[in-house]
């Protein structure tokens, strides 16, 4: 068996992306939970530039940055491909994974904002969801077409994580009426066996995100 380790931290959306990719491809790995408030020597050695998770370690060689890890996994384990074969379709998939990365600060602003700033962030986040639904998903069942692909994994946090964040913030961002296709995608995504079996527990996420939002608001006002 090839030596494969994943350094992660619960409930990081980035770590789950890598977990999903490995599970969908049936690749065995050892998961190592990192304490981000007390980073291990291994983590600092494997990701000296960012000191972040996830890091995939294959035969002792570390690969950092989620999108880079996913492309690496796709190449080393080509079974159950998560990227289209056609170069143009592949470019489109990469466009949307980049879109998600570039726009994540807007959703983060929605989560940690208060008052007027939060209203503005909510409006912007909804506009982004519309773009994602109209241009990214369109009429497809999944972003990847008939089956899950890398773009679905990139937007995977819109399922289990966003619901908890919305509850903590007290604002519904992805209303079913406003985003019917994303809502349908959400249901399909969570029903996929490899995803369903690998989602963070909602009851554990709620206090985690509550506490995180409080910390972020407190640090913003000091």
């Amino acid at each position: 068996m090839e030596e494969l380790k994943l350094l992660g931290a619960w409930p990081s959306i980035y770590c789950y992306r890598v977990i999903w990719a490995l599970k969908l491809k049936g690749v065995k790995y050892e998961y190592v939970e990192e304490d981000l408030s007390n980073k291990s020597d291994h983590l600092l050695q494997y990701n000296p530039v960012h000191k972040k998770v996830p890091v995939l370690v294959h035969h002792g060689k570390p690969v950092a940055e989620t999108s880079v890890i996913l492309e690496y996994i796709e190449e080393i384990w080509p079974q159950n491909p998560l990227l289209p074969n056609d170069p143009f379709e592949k470019a489109l998939a990469r466009f949307w994974t980049k879109f998600e990365e570039d726009k994540s600060p807007a959703f983060f602003a929605f989560f940690r904002g208060v008052g007027e700033e939060q209203e503005k962030a909510t409006k912007e986040a909804k506009q982004l969801l519309k773009i994602i639904e109209d241009h990214g998903l369109g009429e497809k069942k999944f972003f990847g077409g008939n089956k899950i692909g890398l773009v679905d994994l990139a937007f995977g946090w819109l399922s289990a994580w966003l619901e908890v964040m919305e509850e903590v913030v007290g604002i519904k961002l992805m209303e079913a009426n406003s985003f019917p296709r994303l809502e349908a995608w959400n249901k399909s995504f969570k029903e996929e066996p490899m995803i369903k079996e690998n989602l963070p527990d909602r009851d554990e996420m709620l206090p985690y995100f509550k506490s995180l939002r409080e910390k972020l608001i407190a640090s913003a006002t000091t």
């Binding site: 940055e65 999108s67 880079v68 492309e71 190449e75 170069p87 592949k90």
Partner: protein, 221 residues
């Protein structure tokens, strides 16, 4: 032969990444200059989400985002590879492409800001250069090794435009004594024939960016 078109803007760094990739691989293409203050219907059709250049149009199909375009070019035209063939080395190259993309704003910020904000940009860009030099470039001549690769192309535009910005704001950051290897890399990179022959006119750039800086600073007051 399939039709390749590149929509760009002469003073924008990002189309140059694509130009360099196309030229290095000997791919013929038609260049279309876009007026970004008056975007063409074609641009809006090709890139409805961002409405930005560069856009590569191959056989009528548009590809957006400079580094994604380069990955597309790399796959369609494998000659003169810009990515390593080894998956682990490829991952390292993509890591550094992502790093320079993330840190690019600090380099533009040096040019766009004044006072405290500019001081911060100075600090951030210096820190980035240090990491890039020590951990990205190391002892290599180019990021790609003996010949230029995707990271050289990604960082090359940032370094070149940064040089113009340094001159305009009269702040020198990427100096030989502070960043000896990176400075040597920049000199070597801009000597590569394809790069040397495909850079925007420096005087035109200085003129354009000087004017733009004055305009934007007075607009923000």
């Amino acid at each position: 032969m399939a039709e390749v078109k590149l929509h760009g803007r002469w003073y924008s760094p990002f189309p140059y990444r694509v130009i360099w990739a196309l030229k290095l691989k000997g791919i013929s293409y038609e260049y279309i200059e876009e007026d970004l203050s008056n975007k063409s219907p074609l641009l809006l059709q090709y890139n409805p989400v961002h409405k930005k250049i560069p856009v590569l149009v191959h056989s009528g199909k548009p590809i957006c985002e400079s580094m994604i375009i380069i990955e597309y070019i790399e796959e369609k035209w494998p000659q003169t590879p810009l990515l390593p063939s080894d998956p682990y080395e490829k991952a390292k190259a993509r890591f550094w492409v992502k790093f320079v993309e993330e840190k690019a704003p600090a380099f533009w910020s040096l040019y766009r800001s004044t006072g405290e904000e500019q001081k911060k940009a100075l600090k951030d860009s210096s820190e980035t250069l240090k990491i890039v030099e020590e951990q990205g470039l190391g002892e290599k001549k180019f990021f790609g090794g003996d010949s230029i690769g995707i990271v050289d192309i990604a960082f090359g535009v940032i370094a070149h435009w940064f040089g113009v910005f340094e001159e305009i704001v009269e702040v020198k950051v990427l100096e030989a004594h502070a960043f000896p290897r990176l400075h040597a890399w920049k000199v070597n990179f801009e000597e590569v024939p394809v790069i040397k022959e495909n850079l925007p006119d420096r005087d035109k750039m200085l003129d354009y960016f000087k004017k733009r800086r004055i305009e934007s600073l007075s607009a923000s007051q």
